[in-house]
Each structure stands twice: as structure tokens, then as C-alpha cells.
């Protein structure tokens, strides 16, 4: 008998192989369904309200200046105005502070219809070249902004760097300049690891076609914060980029004078340029969407919960009632 057992192919009677592992078998009873919908509603509506009020507390000043900064005489030929290097492109904008803005106030520039996420654009850079001084020849993604006409590698290469945004803003209130802090606008991680502290701009913006801003060749890339911000390409065609921070409060109804140097050419494709001053809260900038969405979802869940309550009251069904089984429901002939 013993020997027979040894050769027996009888499967082992383990809980796993017999598919009898202990298991939790939740069944969503009416109570659970109603509870879960109500819970969602109860959680979501207050969260939505909080988000909405946070967004409401954000003070935001947006000024579109791309059209306003073209002198009337050039209004039909904005491009020739912007492309003329000898032209003084300074223009003055007046902003009103609607509510008191508490420091830190963030200064952004906003571009529209500018596809920083365009396939040709996002790839046109060399991450190796940016962080490593020895890799200046690593420019294979950067064409046509990879080498100068006399075959010297461009650092930083590629379309992204080449198209660096170069409008500048100077703010003043009541004749007194408001200091815009340009330090610390880029991600610390980018400055430390992505852009090399020993990589200096070379042969940059020396071609026939100037795409945007120029770089000071004495400052390493890791400290060129405007470039770093610009090179963290935006997700969407309408985007903001941080220009600087104001560390003083702005009083309500104050008038701010913005001196804009309008250098960047978006006139070709009608891309708008805006100057944005904004405070932030925990939810970020001014955006009611999340608040409204949360309130709607929460409200919807409460509504569904009520409907289920009604359903269970008026059309009750005993759980596991065998009379609902299809073969018991068939009419008996």
C-alpha cells in the first residue's frame, strides 16, 4: 500500500491547488452602495468648496501686450518691426491691482498658440550636452541648430534653446521700481543635475536666423535660470512660464507701470503674449475647474444615493431570493 501511495498521482490537496484559498468575498448590499455614494458626496462637496474658495482668493493680473506694444505705424507690418534689431522696442503698460496681493507674487509670461510640445520642438535638444562640458559634440537631435556655419558646436544646441523667450519686464509703482527677483525661478533639481555648472554657452545665437534670446557666455548654464525655465517644455499650447518673483506686497487699487521690452516674435503665427502677476494658494493659481468638478461629482453622488434609497424602498429585493433565479422565474406551463 505504501508503495502504491508513492507512485500515486493524486494531486496534493492544498488550498491553493484546489482553488480554496481563504478569500474575502465582499457583496455590495444596498447599505454599502448608499453609504459609499453618500461618503463620496460628503467628502467631495466640502473639498470642492475649499478648492473654489482657494481659487477665489488668488489675485491675478493678466495683461495682453503683444498688440499694444506695436506702434500704430507698424500695425500692418508687426514682423518687420520686431525683426528690426535697431528699433527700440520698449513699451509701457499700466496694470491695476484689484485686491491686495500678498508676497510672494509670481510674475509669469503667458504664450498662446505656441506649441512647445510640438514633436519637432520637444526633441530638439541634447540633455547630455547640457550637463556635461565634454559632451558638447553630442548634438544629434539638434539639427538644424547643431553646428554653426563654420562647423563649431552650438552650446546649448537645438530649437528649444535657440527660441529662448527674451521679452523683459520692469515694474514700478508710484515711481518706485518693484524688484523682480529672478533667482530661484527654475527647479532646483534642474539647476543641480540637469544643467552643468561647468558648461558655458558657446557659439549660441550666432546664425543668420535669430530665434530668441542670447546668453551671457560667462555664466554657466546651471545659473541661466531663464533658459532652464524655458527648456522645461510646457505641456500645452497655452502656457505660462515663471519670469520672477516679487517679494513685497502690492496694495489694493495700486497702479503698476510695466516697462516691457517687446523682443520676442510671435506675430508670424498670431501667438499672444501676456504678462501675468499672480499670487498662489494650496490649489495653485486661479482656476475654478477643480472646485466645480468636485462639487459636481459630489452632488451627483448624493443624487444617485437618493435615487438608490428610493429604489430600495419602492422596489425592494431580498438578497439571494431564489425566486429571482431565471429557472424559477419561467412561467409554469
Amino acid at each position: 500500500m505504501d508503495q502504491k501511495n508513492k507512485t500515486s498521482k493524486k494531486p496534493k490537496n492544498s488550498k491553493f491547488s484546489q482553488q480554496e484559498l481563504p478569500a474575502w468575498k465582499p457583496i455590495l448590499t444596498p447599505g454599502w452602495v448608499i453609504t459609499s455614494f453618500i461618503t463620496i458626496g460628503v467628502l467631495f462637496i466640502p473639498t470642492g468648496l475649499l478648492a473654489l474658495s482657494a481659487s477665489d482668493n488668488v489675485v491675478e493680473i493678466v495683461d495682453r501686450y503683444d498688440e499694444g506694444c506695436i506702434p500704430d505705424s507698424y500695425s500692418q507690418k508687426a514682423e518687420s518691426y520686431i525683426q528690426n534689431p535697431n528699433q527700440n522696442k520698449t513699451c509701457v503698460r499700466t496694470l491695476r491691482v484689484p485686491k491686495k496681493m500678498v508676497a510672494p507674487i509670481f510674475v509669469y509670461y503667458q504664450l498662446e498658440k505656441f506649441y512647445q510640445n510640438h514633436r519637432r520642438f520637444v526633441k530638439s535638444k541634447s540633455d547630455k550636452q547640457l550637463r556635461d562640458a565634454d559632451a558638447q559634440d553630442d548634438t544629434h537631435n539638434c539639427f538644424p541648430e547643431d553646428y554653426t556655419a563654420d562647423n563649431k558646436p552650438i552650446v546649448p544646441c537645438g530649437l528649444i534653446a535657440w527660441s529662448l523667450f527674451n521679452d523683459t519686464y520692469k515694474l514700478s509703482a508710484r515711481g518706485k521700481a518693484i524688484n523682480i527677483d529672478k533667482k530661484g525661478i527654475a527647479w532646483k533639481s534642474d539647476m543641480e543635475a540637469k544643467f552643468g555648472s561647468n558648461v558655458y554657452p558657446k557659439n549660441f545665437q550666432k546664425g543668420t536666423l535669430i530665434g530668441g534670446g542670447k546668453l551671457d557666455e560667462r555664466i554657466p548654464l546651471s545659473e541661466q535660470e531663464d533658459l532652464i525655465v524655458w527648456m522645461r517644455t510646457a505641456a500645452l499650447p497655452t502656457f505660462r512660464k515663471l519670469y520672477g518673483k516679487i517679494n513685497t506686497d502690492l496694495e489694493s487699487h495700486e497702479t503698476i507701470t510695466a516697462e516691457v521690452e517687446n523682443n520676442y516674435n510671435t506675430y508670424k503665427f498670431g501667438g499672444r503674449k501676456k504678462l501675468v502677476l499672480s499670487t498662489t494658494t494650496w490649489i495653485g493659481g486661479k482656476n475654478d475647474f477643480l472646485g466645480i468638478a468636485y462639487i459636481s461629482v459630489g452632488g451627483l453622488c448624493l443624487f444617485i444615493a437618493i435615487n438608490f434609497i428610493l429604489l430600495y424602498v419602492f422596489r425592494p429585493r431580498r438578497l439571494g431570493d431564489p425566486s429571482y433565479l431565471s429557472w424559477n422565474r419561467q412561467p409554469i406551463v
Binding site: L21, I27, H118, D127, A235, F269
Partner: protein
Amino acid sequence: MHHSSLRKRVVAVFDRFKLSWIFTLLLLLKNTPAIFYPLWLLIVTDNSQHQSPNTLQDSSSEGEIRSKTWSANSVFVNLGSKRLSHGSRGGATDSEAFSMSHREINVEDARLVYVNDALKTNERFEFAGNSIRTAKYSVLSFLPRNLFEQFHRVAYIYFLIIAILNQLPQLAVFGRGASILPLSVVLLVTAVKDAYEDWRRHKSDRIENNRMSSVLVNDRFKQKKCKDIQVGEIIKFSADDTIPSDIVLLSTSDPTGVAYIQTINLDGESNLKTRYAKQETLSRTPEKDMINGIIKCEKPNRNIYGFHATMEIDGKHLSLGPSNIVLRGCVLKNTNWAIGVVVYAGRETKAMLNSSGAPSKRSRLETRMNREIILLSLFLVALCTAVSICAGVWLREHENELEFLQFYRKKDYSQPQVKNYNYSGLGVEVFFTFLMSVIVFQIMIPISLYISMELVRVGQAYFMIRDDKMYDEMSNSRFQCRALNINEDLGQIKYVFSDKTGTLTENKMEFKHASIFGVDYSGENIDSDGYFIQVNGHVWRPKMKVKVDKELLELSKIGNNSKDSKWIYDFFLSLAACNTIVPIVIDTSNPDEKLIDYQGESPDEQALVYAAAAYGFMLMERTSGHIVIDIQGERQRFNVLGMHEFDSDRKRMSVILGFPNGTVKVIVKGADTSMFTIIDKSVNSDVTRATETHLNSYSSIGLRTLVVGIRELSVPEFEHWQSAYETASTAVNGRVALLRKVAVNLETDLEIVGASAIEDRLQTGVPEAIESLRKADIKVWVLTGDKQETAISIGYSSRLLTSNMTQIVINCNTKMSCGKSLEDGLIMCTNLDVTPVALIIDGTSLVYILDSDLEEQLFQLASNCTVVLCCRVAPLQKAGIVALIKNRTDDMTLAIGDGANDVSMIQMADVGIGISGQEGRQAVMASDFAMGQFRFLVPLLLVHGHWNYQRMGYMILYNFYRNAVFVLVLFWYVLFTGFTLTTAITEWSSVLYSVLYTSVPTIVIAILDKDLSRRSLLAYPQLYGAGQRHESYNAKLFWLTIADTLWQSIVVFYVPLFAYWKTDIDGSSVGDLWTLAVVFLVNIHLAMDVVRWTWVSHASIWGSILVTCVCVVAIDVIPVLPGYWAIFELASKESFWICLLGIQIAAVVPRFGIKMYVQHCEPSDIQIAREAEKFGNLIEPTTQEIEMNSTRR
């Protein structure tokens, strides 16, 4: 011995799980049939037809089935390739087969083997040596050949084309590494698996090739390596040796030239078979007197039951048949030695030519799924077209600006002459966009689904094999999954076609009653001590004890002196002598006691010989020339002067016995229908009549009957027969036909001796199983070769037929009357509204109905009947009946059987199940699944089939959803990138999404989740209806899933879009958000549908989410990737968490709400049963209810 080890591997492929089933799981990415080792085993063919004199098939009915196996085999070979006539009764095929085997061999078709002259044999023709090679690859050929084989699969070609497209610089969406990764992982895993398997094959080949055998070299037998054996050489082997190549027997240790062989490695049958050396060679010893001759034989072919050759020796022409050849892989038993000449060697042996796997079927669910895959492909094309059209429009609108757009820069100014940079005109750009979007959206077609499905099926097979409820104690066999791609079909069966003998019954014959010379001995059988004899101081007992009739036992002891007891003496002597059983004496633990084991191919014959032994007529010894029977303690030797084998036309066998006192008698045993035509009715007509009455009463209680007749031959009669017999058996052409003629002339004017009744007991649990199947709304049809009365009685005892059923019986001899009967039956069913109805139809009627315009009528009638019983059907007709249903409905059919005669229907049905029982393994070899008992059908279908179907159906829908939701998120983003196929989600995440982030949980859940417990499924067989109604996978569910997918993708994409519109969010950050959101979502979606949460489900789902987070973080800490540190910047802001949570809830609320609504208002049976399982308030149905339910249908 090596063969047997190989065979074990094949038979229990899944035993490998024992070692490392997880490893196997990983390795089984490839097409599943490939996991089967090349089978040494043979595909099925008949064994009764050609294996010389050992096949008298007992009961008429069984005999008839067996005899028709030729036709079954032809189906096996041809099935699917050409239309078959199912109506033929096999007789024609038989004679064709005979004439085939006796045609002359054409010279150009022949191979000439010079006996004992390997040099000469091999100089003219290039015959294969005996070394074999089952391994597919060598070190050099592995890479190209393996790759070539892998790329035979459409999925891989799709992968490859996409990967190649991506390598074109114009289209490079993903980096090189990311685009090749998925394909290379799959290829690598498969290659490793193949290499491992091939290495094992190499190892086994080496062992096989280096075995030693004894070969005649220069008139002496020398040991030689197996691989060096050549065609034409003479080899010698002794008992228990495995034969190294196909050889023609020359002589054996038996003076009459008999050799017993076991073919278990070849076809799995464990009983002994006899092979013969030719008279002209058997007395020679090759060492002393040279045997020189030429064998002219067929070219190598794969028919293991056919062999046709002539041998020219000493100027004599001899014809050789299948009984003269011993095939590679057989084992010599009970014979001290045998000598033979090699005719086929190595890869040309029949065993090697037959090493191929079981044919594969495609599951119904997969076929339906492919339809949806085509829809998804169209959907993919639509998405790509939309993107490329939009891209075209955008480019056209901005045509003038492209040159100076900072983010486009059409022109390259770095060189003096300004050229276009990466721009080749609008049309080309649009075309490129289309191709690129195919690359980006490639996973819309869920290629990974095919791989997942294979893994899931392996997992499901593991559980089916490991189910201890489907383990058969008696045969020590587990459930076997031979086909791995139709697991889920088991959950949708509507029709079960079952064989009777060996499937519903045990096929363990037990001698029950006897009618001897008109006297019925059917009193109560009692246990006896068993008859035993003394031989050389040892006690010999039959191995099996038989219950005996006390009265008959007393009478049998009287001997043949009185008139009454003479018949009893003749009867038992006939049973002991007229058969092909070989008695084998085996030792027991008690040294004084030995057991006699009666080996034979037919269980009926064994039962009769055991019965004779129990009544004191013990068969002790059989050689080809004589038998020794111990009759009541007195040993007698009878000369076997001749034997006429069983054949399907005569349905009987006869033996010509020379008695010790010099008389010669012919004893005939056969089916009642054939025997009564040759019995001399002029004498003892009352005995004949009485016997007939007894036969009827026996068969009405389901017993199998045989009639025995005897006649004494006068000297001239005997001499006349003898000369005719000699002439016939040495004839070169048409020997079988001649022998048959001789037999027919001899078997006349018999005196009736009596009839035997053998019981074939129902297997345990059969009535209950049939009851369950019927409640599950599965129609059970029984197709049997037995006679009508037997079939009906088995029908009653298995509860297939009940007393309240109306029986429509169709036994017709003309087409006209068949048509009429069918019409009457139809009218009865439909107009008179009689329910339930059982249809009983016999093979003769089916001849007229199948393949004629009456088929449709039969179908109509049969589908109105609760039960259909087909009796006396030939194997081809079985397939014909299956085809009748299969061709006319969408319902799934299942055929279950155990014998060679069931092979055709097993192959024909959607699911074929083989019972590994007494009748050999042909059915198992042809089947998709094999098991030990009929009753396992219930857990197999109701439990495993149900689970498999539910799981697979859900998995397919989930995989569609999972991939589509991701593709749609990518698609929405493309709309905001100027239609340029930028992905915010990193390329690594895109690639890992279906490979790593979301692949494991769906596979784990599809293997482990159970919608209902085994107990509920067995208690309520009606729950099986869910599969029959396609509840888990249908067009409605598909479209609902797609709608849900659309909604969820919109939520996932647009919530972050609106939340981060006009902010300084960068692409990588929002990409990470989308990645996490969609992975969380699809896992939560799956979690919502899990029914049973075991620790494995928890681990896989939450583990996947964790792994995703780890991967996203890991990707974001690589400084050269654009998304460096993005996830940390992102996660430090509250808006990220708010978005993530909001997405999950908003995406699943509609689905959850609708699911809950449906669950409450239109609960499915499964839902109710699940609730009942949890809250335990389902009222146990009474038997009354069962009756009502079954009758209502």
C-alpha cells in the same frame, strides 16, 4: 526504458509543474501546443484488424464497433480536409482496406532489404541510419531557425512591423530601446524556453542513440550502439528489451515463432500482442546457417497498423503483413529472445514518423473575440486617419508660417543654400503622421491579450489537472489537458455525445448468467473460494475472483458423462478454449502461491476465461500450437489446429481443436445475430428458441451476450478444411479474403451449446452526473454500438430515460420508411405536444438518413427530444451525428468516449474528451481533454468550464478596455500638440504600460477569481446557463465596455487638462499624472470586479500600482531623461493629489452606479447565487422541483 520515460512526460505534461510551475508559466508564452514534447506516441488507428489471431470480440455489439475502426481511422486522417460520407457502414471501407493491403508493391515504391547484408542494402538506396534526432536545433541553427519559427505568428509580425517602422528616422516616435523592448522580451523568453526544451531533447536523443543492442556481425552477435544499426542488419533482443528500430521477425524462442510484445510506448495499450516469425525462417539460427533473402517492402509510412511486404527466401515468395513486424519502441515480453531484420531505421521508423502532436482547435470565445479585434483595428485606423487629416489641415493653414515658427523651423539656414529641414511636402507629412500614429496607438490592438490568454489557459489547466475531484483512484490518473486553447469552451456546452461502453459503463466485464442448452442459470451468484490447482507444489489461482452460480458449479463438477452435464462441460470448455487470451503466471508475495493473469485485448474474453476458470476449466498455457486446460484438476492438452479470427462480416470467431481422444471439433463463438444463421435449427429447435428467449431477457437488463456453438468434424471434413486452410494461409495475394471464405464454409450446421451474459457495470456516479448535466440544460445523447435493448436498459439505469418519457423508436430498412417514421415522430413531438420525448434510432436507419435530405428532419426531431439514443452505430456515423448538430446550430458540442471507435466523433466535436479506460488510449490521444471517469464531466463543465468561461470572457473585455483607455488618453493629447504625436507620457511608461504596469493583475484574476463557489455551482447546475447564453462576452457587453472606456479616458485626460490650463505645468509632470491616473484607474476598475479577494489578488493589484509608482519615480531620477525630478515637483503640490483622486472617482462612478442598478433590478442568476452563498438563504430544492424543472424543458 527510455521510451517509457518519454511517454510519461507526454502523458502528464503538466507534471512538470511539480518542479517549477512558475518557471513553466513564464516560459509558456508561445503557442501552447508547442509545449508538448514531440510525441512518440501514435496517432490512433485500429488494432483489432491487423493484429492476428487475438481479437475475437466477444459480444456481437462490441465486435461490430471494433470492426469498423478502419473507417474511424480514415476520418482521423482526413477530417477537416474533405467532406466525408457519414452514412457508410464501413463494410466497403473494410474490403477496400483488405484489397489495399494485398495489392502488389510497385517496384519504384518499394524498398529492397537484403537480409543480413547491410552493405548491399545500403549501397543502392540512401536509407536512414538508426540515429534519431528529435531535437530541432543545433547550436548554429538555433538563432535563425528559432526566430523564423517565432515569426510565424501574426502577433509577432505586427510587433516587428511596428518596431521597424519606428526605426525610420522620419517616424521615430519612441527611442530605439523602448520600441524594441516589448518584442525582444517576448522573443527572448520564448527562445529561452525553446532552448531549454531542445536541450532536454538533445539529452534524451543522446541516451536513445547510445543504447546498446546485439547485432549480427560476421556470424556473431556483437553489442553495437543503437545509432549505428543499419537497415538490413539482423539484431537479436531478449525479454524486456525495447526494440531499437522496425524489424521483421525471423525467429523467436518459441518453436512456433510467436513473440509477445507490449506497445505501451507506442499507443499506450498495456496488453500483450502477438507477432509471428514466418515458418520458413523460424527454425534457422542466423549464426550457423546464413539467412539470405530479400525483403521488398513499402516506403516508410506512418501507418503503424499496416505493413505490406514480400520476402524472397530460398526461392520462395512469402507475404509479410502487420503481424510479422515489430515496431521501434515496443517491448518484448514473455518471450526469451527474438531475432529480426531491420527494415526501417531511425527517423524512418513508424514511431518516429508519427511523432506529432494533437491537432489544435480554436475556442469559440476566441473566434468571437477576433471579430471584436477587427472592430478595434477599424477603430485604430479611424483614430490614425483623424490625426493625419487634422495634421494635414493644420499644416496647410500654417503653411506660410512654418519657415519661421520657432517650434517648427521648416528651413535650415546653417548652410549657404537654404534647404528644407525634415519636411518633404504636405502629402508625405500626412502619410508619415499616419504611420507614426499607428506606432503610437499600436496597443489599441491588444497583442498582449493573446499572450495573456495563453498564460491564463496554462494556469486554468494547472487547476483542472490539480483538482483532486477529478483524480481517478482506480486508474491512478489525473485529469489531462491535451489541448490548451479551448478551456473556456467547456463553459458553453449544449450537447454531450457519449459513448456507452467504457464511458458510461466501466468496461469491466463480469460473467453474470449462462444459458446452457436451453437451461437458464441465472440464480443468485455467490462468492466462492475460487478454483485453484496445484502445480509443482505451488497453488495457482486466477487473478480475478468471479462470483459463481451454486447450482451450475455443482453441475460443472460432474464432468461430461451424463447427458446434461456434457453440455455444461462443452460450454465451459468452449469459453476456455475459443479465445485469444494468453495466460501469464505471476509470482505473489506468498512463495507457494501464483496467480494466473489472463492477458488479452478484449475485456469480454477475459471475463469469459476467468468465469470458465472459476467453474473449474482453467486455461493454463497457450502456444500457437496447443493449449493446456486444467479441467476439474485434470490437465488436458488440446491441439489448436486452426483459428479463424474475428472479422466484422462474420461477427464471430472459431477455433479448431484437436481433443486428446483424437476427435476434432470446431468451436464458434459470436454475436447472436450471426450465430443463429449458422446454427442447425432442425435439431434441438426448442433449445434454440429457449436460448433466444434467454438472450432477450439478458439484453433487456443491459447484459452483453454471446452465443457458443460446436460441431464435431469428420475426418474427410477435417482434411478438406485443413488443405483449404493451408492453401489460404500461405497464399500471397488475397489471403484474408481466402481465409474468410474457408471459415464461412466451415462454420455451418452448428449445434447450439449455450449463451453467456456479461455485465458491464455502470461507472459510479453516472446517473447523478447525467441528472446534473440535464439540469444544466445540456442535452446528453448516447451513441453506442450495442444493440437496442442493451442501450435502452443502460438508458434506464443511468436515468437518461425515465418512465414518464414517450419513446420514439426508429428502426427502418428503407429510406422511405425512415422518412415516414421521422415525419410521424415530428408530428408527435410538435402537434400532440407530448413531453418529454426520447428518440431511439439505430445505425441502419442512420445509413438512410445521414447525408440525405432526411438529415434536416432528423435534426428537427432530435432537437425536440430530451434524450437521443443511437444504437448500433458505426464510428463514422457517430461523427455524422455530431456534425448534424454542429453544422446546424451555434451550440457547442462535446463528445466523450474511450475507444478507437469514438475517435471520429471526438475529433468532430468542438470539445473532445477521452476516457482513459480499458480500451486503449486511442481516444485519449485524439482528445482535447482526458480523464478517468464519466462523472468528472460534471465538475469539469459545471465548475471548471463555468469558471474558465467567466474568467476568460471578463479578461478579454478588460484587456480591450485597458488598452483602449490608454490609447485614447494618448489620442486626446495629440489633439493639443498640433497633431504631431507627441506623448506626454514617457516612452518607457508607454512601453511598460501593457507589459508591466497592468499585465499581472488581469492574468492573476483570470486564473484565480471565482464568481461562485464549487458547492453552489454543483448544487445549482442551472447556473451553467450563463455560459450557454454567452453572458460574459457578447456584443452588448463589448459596446458597453467601449462606451465606458470613452468616458474614463475623457475623465483621465481632461481633468488635468482643465486643471493645468494656463499654468506653468511642464509636459513631463502632466505626463506622470496621466500615467499614474490611468494605471490606478484600470487597476481599481479591475478591483471593482473581483469577486474573491485572496492574498494573491491583493498582492497583484496593489502590487501593480506600487510597481508603477516605483517605475515612474525611477524613470524620473535619471537626469538625461526630460522628465527629471518631475514627479517630485508634481507630488509636492496639492493639486496633483486632488486631480488624482477626482479622476478615480469621477471615472468609476457611472460604471459603479449602473452595475449596482442592474444588480438590484435585473440580477443575474450568478448574482443571486452569490448573495445566497454569502447570506445562506437559498432554499434547498426538493426532488419534486428537480423533476418539474427537468420536465418543463
